[in-house]
Subunit: 116 residues, 2 copies
């Protein structure tokens, strides 16, 4: 799959896809004889995972850390699990804060601006 197709499929720009590759979140993606990227199914799965986590606010640094651990093999499974648990907890807290703000917006809209 070409970079264009991938960028359309996942709604990420070509630049972002190459940037993710450069910082080591994906790939290195295979290239054909004329140097053009050809994404595999594996690559797509990784992109989808990264996109999901990024859209939830996990930093590139953390994702890179996880992916590097993964590349190191089985002996890092415990460390990976710890990392995921840590990020899950961060996420939980963030969701909580957002829900607080959400309730507050609800209140303002429904009570303060009721008749506007």
């Amino acid at each position: 799959m070409t970079i264009k197709e991938v960028s359309e499929k996942y709604d990420l720009t070509n630049d972002t896809l190459r940037y993710y590759e450069k910082v080591g979140l994906i790939g290195p993606v295979k290239k054909n004889k004329s140097g053009i990227r050809d994404y595999t199914e594996e690559d797509l799965k990784r992109i989808e995972f990264v996109k999901c986590m990024r859209s939830a606010g996990l930093s590139i640094e953390v994702l890179k850390e996880y992916i590097d651990l993964f590349a190191e093999g089985k002996e890092t499974e415990k460390a990976r699990k710890e990392l995921l648990k840590r990020e899950r907890e961060n996420l939980r807290k963030k969701i909580e804060k957002m829900q607080e703000a959400y309730e507050r917006l609800n209140y303002k809209i429904d009570v303060f601006y009721k008749d506007k």
Copy 2:
């Protein structure tokens, strides 16, 4: 209340408090004869609101927009309500994405890394 007390109460640095004031999210805060800030109850309420919304990811630009509308008076109530509804919807979508990522982390932790 001094800037130090406020910064401790809300866990924001002095710098951030002055920055928020500079960009117009709060104040202008009253100063005593020697130029030192003395925050009022009104100021604190605003700070608390801004902190809550910032921690949920609303941009300074949007908050500024809302606060400027507020300062313009009653005739902007409808516009303010629209703004809040827009931001509430953005927030809802973001919470949804974060929950998706959260579930995914849960799954990885509980299934993939079950015995690690």
